[in-house]
């Protein structure tokens, strides 16, 4: 057993940290308050390969494994969760294309994302469909050599700025079994009938673009179908373990960012003629926060390592990592604000933003409750029902 990162992983971590410190941190508050998409920063990130970190080398990416991508996520989110998400989400939905796409689809859709020329997204949730993914009602019907798509997609990351989306649709409503009859179809944003409504007023990750997609008789060519018709739900499920591990890494980053800022502040802030870090009440908080971060990181690393090496144990680990790390993010951000006192309640300090940003990690990519259901299901040896 070896707990050391490789030289290459350390180098990636240090360079991403340098990038994040210099290019992300200074403007993070501005993008948060204005709910503005940080296009220039995403372009800069693309130049050094951050938008294609998990896209295979043959399609212009770097092809890093899940663990190295987790390290990247941690560093980006420790600088700013909102902008970090903008950078990492440019390839949302790419895993379906990598796993099931045709050669033509990979070339057309993966390469532009890796080079920073395009932004993509995954469209799963609907106004009435959250955790219960199998009740997706967006309909795609075949008409000649085209798919005609109708429905609304909700909470779609990159919705109003993305170039194309992998959309989960119902193609075969008469199929037997609740997981059958769905398909993943690429829908370009410039198709007639495609409309995106930006959602504003989010609690956190406000730099990240979120929108509702309205698909009204949108026609796409039949070759936009990804993988097998009717197997979309099962294709999607294949990557949940990986994407949940990714959210766990985001949460570790948020927790780390909050814990580091709390430590700095505690050493700086003086009360009763000494730094508040001299008080045991604060010391114990700092100890617990940093211990939690390390524990969450180890669970996340093990899950990430399992994606690449040992996927028999993966499903339970990924849910454990996601549930635990997101809880740690919320708790550590809470304590970080507490240590900052009044100063942490306004956005002069980053911890105010981290407190708001942390919450999403308990919600997206499967809520904490769904993660616990999965852990229990695995423990009790029950299959999907």
């Amino acid at each position: 057993m070896d707990f050391d990162l490789t030289d290459e992983q350390r180098q990636v971590r240090d360079e991403v940290r340098r990038f994040a410190e210099n290019e992300i941190k200074p403007d993070a508050t501005e993008y948060d308050t204005e709910e503005k998409y940080p296009r220039e920063i995403v372009e800069q990130a693309a130049e050094i390969g951050l938008t294609g970190a998990n896209i295979p080398v043959e399609y212009g990416g770097v092809g890093y494994d899940t663990l190295t991508n987790a390290i990247i996520a941690e560093e980006l989110f420790a600088a700013d969760p909102g902008i970090g998400l903008c950078i990492q989400s440019t390839a949302f939905g790419a895993d379906a294309l990598v796993g099931f796409g045709t050669e033509e689809q990979k070339e057309a859709f993966l390469e532009p994302v890796a080079t920073g020329d395009a932004i993509m997204g995954a469209a799963i949730s609907e106004p009435d469909v959250g955790s219960d993914v199998s009740s997706v009602s967006t309909r795609a019907e075949k008409d000649g050599d085209e798919w005609v798509i109708n429905g609304n997609k909700m909470w779609i990351t990159n919705g109003s700025i993305g170039d194309y989306f992998v959309v989960l649709c119902k193609t075969d409503p008469e199929a037997e079994g609740r997981y059958n009859g769905f398909s993943q179809i690429v829908v370009e944003a410039d198709r007639d009938g495609f409309e995106a409504d930006k959602i504003t007023g989010k609690l956190g990750i406000r730099a990240s673009d979120t929108a509702e997609l309205i698909l009204d008789d949108v026609r796409v060519p039949e070759e936009n179908l990804v993988g097998t018709r009717g197997a979309g739900f099962l294709q999607l499920m294949q990557f949940f373990d990986e994407t949940r591990t990714g959210v766990a890494a985001q949460a570790v980053g948020i927790a780390k960012g909050a814990a580091e800022r709390a430590l700095d502040y505690a050493e700086d802030r003086e009360q009763f003629s000494k730094p508040i870090s001299e008080f045991q009440a604060i010391q114990h908080k700092l100890s617990e926060m940093h211990t939690q971060v390390e524990a969450a990181r180890m669970l996340t690393y093990k899950s990430a390592w399992s994606v690449d090496n040992e996927d028999d144990q993966l499903t339970m680990l990924a849910s454990m990592a996601k549930e635990f790390a997101s809880r740690v993010a919320v708790e550590v951000a809470d304590e970080a604000v507490q240590i900052h006192g009044g100063a942490g309640y306004v956005n002069d300090f980053d911890v105010e933003r981290f407190y708001r940003d942390a919450k999403i990690t308990q919600i997206y990519e499967g809520t904490s409750e769904i993660q616990k259901n999965i852990i229990a299901r695995e423990l009790l040896g029950k299959g999907m029902t």
Partner: protein, 263 residues
């Protein structure tokens, strides 16, 4: 064409620190690529991107711990690296500029570069003399504190701007082979790309002893020895002017005139 870039791993010290013998206690230091060398590496890599057949080689004097820093330069586009180290060299001992230049000159004689770029100075020792001493030992031309470089490879001439004191710039031509000491701000150093970091792992990083570069321990003989390290006593003497810019500027101008700075 070959460009040799000298790269040093420097020590950055925390705001609060403790002195341990002749150095700073390890707990308060971190290692990093010297800032000036970062600009020198970038300048060399830009040359290799704009001209055909340019090889960029870095040379470092340092123990194996310095390899992570050297890989940074490789990740940013240097083609290969040389690291000089020997049992006769002590981790903590200070090397004076003449000694360093002797070692670097021995490497330069083996590599025979057309152009050598060094940083103006290192961020830790800040002696600022290694580059020009190296040129002196090699008997080549040099230009110090270069903040703009336009290389005419065909003619073998570097048109440079040198930063002089008082905001004055000297425009001069230097014939190759030459040593240029590079000033910060000459370019905008890139981040290493993920792809660059990946490629850097398999680039050549050659380790050379003194014997490998044709020297022996006598090359380290130096008339300069570090005898102590201490923190200078600081005195509080800051004057803080408060008020509108118009008021404070006037007060500041008055002080400067009184002390003979402004005329």
């Amino acid at each position: 064409m070959k460009v040799l870039v000298t790269v040093k791993e420097v020590t950055a010290v925390d705001d609060e620190f403790e002195i341990d013998g002749l150095g700073i206690d390890d707990r308060y230091v971190t290692a990093d690529l010297n800032e000036w060398d970062e600009y020198a590496v970038e300048e060399a890599v830009q040359l290799s991107e704009s001209l055909d057949d340019v090889e960029v080689v870095t040379v470092t004097i340092g123990p194996s711990d310095a390899e992570e820093t050297i890989r940074q330069a490789l990740a940013k586009g240097a083609d290969r690296a040389i690291r000089v180290w020997d049992d006769a060299l002590d981790d903590d001992a200070m090397l004076d500029p003449a000694t360093k230049a002797r070692l670097l000159a021995a490497v330069a004689e083996q590599e025979d570069p057309d152009l050598i770029l060094t940083g103006v100075q290192s961020a830790d020792d800040s002696l600022g003399a290694t580059g020009v001493t190296l040129a002196d030992q090699l008997g080549t031309e040099w230009a110090a504190v270069v903040n703009a470089l336009d290389l005419d490879a065909q003619a073998g001439v570097a048109h440079v701007h040198r930063e002089l004191e008082g905001g004055v710039e000297e425009l001069t031509d230097v014939e190759l082979p030459a040593v240029l000491t590079i000033q910060t701000g000459i370019n905008d150093p890139r981040y290493a790309s993920l792809r660059g970091i990946r490629q850097a792992q398999s680039k050549e990083l050659a380790e050379k002893t003194l014997a490998d570069i044709g020297l022996d321990a006598t090359a380290l003989d130096s008339p300069i020895e570090q005898t102590a390290l201490y923190e200078p006593e600081s005195e509080g003497g800051a004057t803080l002017y408060e008020g509108t810019p118009e008021e404070t500027a006037g007060e500041l101008a008055g002080l400067l005139a009184e002390r003979g700075v402004g005329q």
